[in-house]
Amino acid sequence: MSAGASAAIFVPRDSGALSLGADSVAAAIAAEAARRGVAVKLVRNGSRGLYWLEPMIEVEIAGERLAYGPVGSADVPSLFEAGFLSAAPGGHPLALGAAGKIPYLARQHRIVFARAGVTDPLSVDDYLAHGGFHGLKRALEMPGAAIVDEVVRANLRGRGGAAFPAGVKWKTTLDQPDQTKYVVCNADEGDSGTFADRMLMEGDPLLLIEGMTIAGLAVGAAQGFIYLRSEYPHALRVLTAAIAAAESRGYLGKNVRGTGRGFALDVVVGAGAYICGEETAMLESLEGKRGMVRYKPPVPAVAGLFGRPTVVNNVLTFASVPAIVEHGGDAYNQLGAGRSRGTIPLQLAGNVARPGLIEVPFGLSLRELIYDFGGGTRSGRPLRAVQVGGPLGAYFPAAMLDLKIDYEALAEAGGLLGHGGVVVFDDTVDLAAMARYAMEFCAIESCGKCTPCRIGSTRGVELLDRVLRDRAAAGADLDLLRELCDTLAAGSLCALGGLTPMPVMSALRHFPEDFGLPAPAARP
């Protein structure tokens, strides 16, 4: 380090890292540097998503980012003592080597999360230096229909859960003659077991802003809204600051890059209703009403927010768009498996040794995800069940871990990919209790508009309570439960009631012994 230069130290301000004491680590670094009279430049980056190593700090030396983790504030003096500002103290027990070479990261194919954890989320210059706004610059030179065509050719499907082709929605909105149209980002990431939207909004918010602006240009909308769940106060802080930064640099606002075309963004915070992750309930909520599901048709692309044509997509969908427009839809479409194209940011959590964010092309197996990346269970006990796709996703047994992670493969196996959350359970899990929890969750979060969901979920809790009290005598109740699930699946207005049977029935199908039935014959 030359005299006068100050070493850059990256300490994440991602809320996961903060929940493990990242702020006190940053304070300890500042205090120790001051005590020693060393100049340091603290950068508060996002998380790279290696959560078992958080708080993971990095020091930039000769263009390389050397990582240490998990760091507690008590470890800070020893890092200084070992000379971590000027060289790689190989012997330090927390040294991880170059961050980018950690196998968990090196084996990923990051498109959406390429910058998360690398840059200062609020620095437009950092964003530009790492390839930001290239998609927007290209989009500004294209007619809307050409932008839509790239998204169509990419075969980008909605990452929020429904996997509906984004290009079809965009084209529908583009084709509406209305003067006023909207772009709405569903950032109500309510599915338990998922955190990719949060990580992206906290770690690379300008990417979401760029993707939404491109969507506005594509369909002819001048106003966008981000509907953010209230459980994410840090994401709100970062998004609000990032919008202001983008506006001040002319990447957002009345006159984007001096082209005379405008796009404004507004963040609206929800109020703790899971159902507002359903797109029509979210639109009702954005209009200031109860978050009640709407009948479709009309679809939001034709009549959405305030009755106007509205593109509604999830955070990760919009965040995939800048790369698609920059490099062309065909390049994106080269990646993936079957009809699931591109990359999918998977979120690995629950009882797993190395939880985190894993962005890979579709087609990875659950086994590769959980063992090669995740390192198996955290408890060290045998893995018994995996829930894929959030609270409405199926429970799969250990014998099914060779399932490929793509939309069709999971659907064929009686599950869904949803928002890409994967939660691991060891052999202490009680699947009948988890089935009861699924019904309880539906009862708590039902909007109440349709009867199967509103009443059926409560009856489901009662039935499963009886099963749990006396599993040996559950036979008749389980028949009723199957009928009830049929009714919910066939008669509900939206995915909440319609898919609550999925965790319940998959638990019963794959783990009958937890419901007082004979265990399935010898599992491989």
């Binding site: 809320s15 996961g16 929940s19 493990l20 998503g49 959560y51 078992w52 958080e54 990431e189 309510g190 599915d191 338990s192 077991g193 998922t194 955190f195 939207d197 949060r198 209230s230 459980e231 994410y232 106060p233 840090h234 507004d266 609206v268 929800g270 109020a271 703790g272 209703a273 899971y274 909520s285 954005l286 209009e287 200031g288 009403k289 109860r290 978050g291 305030f306 979120q347 690995l348 959590a349 629950g350 009882n351 939880p355 985190g356 964010l357 955290r378 829930q387 609270p391 959350g421 939660v423 691991v424 359970f425 060891d426 899990v429 988890m434 929890y437 969750f441 708590i444 979060e445 909007c447």
Partner: protein
Amino acid sequence: MDSAETWNKDAVAAIVAALKDAPGALLRILRRVQDDLGWVPPPALPMIAHGLNLSRAEVHGVASFYHDFRHTPPARNVIRLCRAESCQALGAEALARHVRSRLGVGFGGTTADRSFALEAVYCLGNCACSPAGVINGHLLGRLTPEAFDDALESLVRR
């Protein structure tokens, strides 16, 4: 934050005046009242209805729909524990038993002296650091009963 059964009428009036023309004004107003006052006092609803030219029933319908809006003054300390799957997979139920007995209150309850309220939450987006919880707005991860007690000690408002 008001801890008595009184509420700041002027603050609500100012919020209504500031936000009444925003798109989807009612949710934004209720959100701001909740954030600033710590609760949505039921007597404020007619005021909000008047400001937006809505019926009291419409405003009540929205205020009562969302889990976040409290209709009684908040406790001095609000503890939220995640009860979703990932946290369950790592001992959230045992943690919940500890917290309930430590605070002497169940989920949805407030202690008689209004010092603690315990709330269930379904996912804080901190699943990779399960089990997760929140003490007075501070997100916590990898909680154990001991870690919870330590955090409570440093974050509690007395």
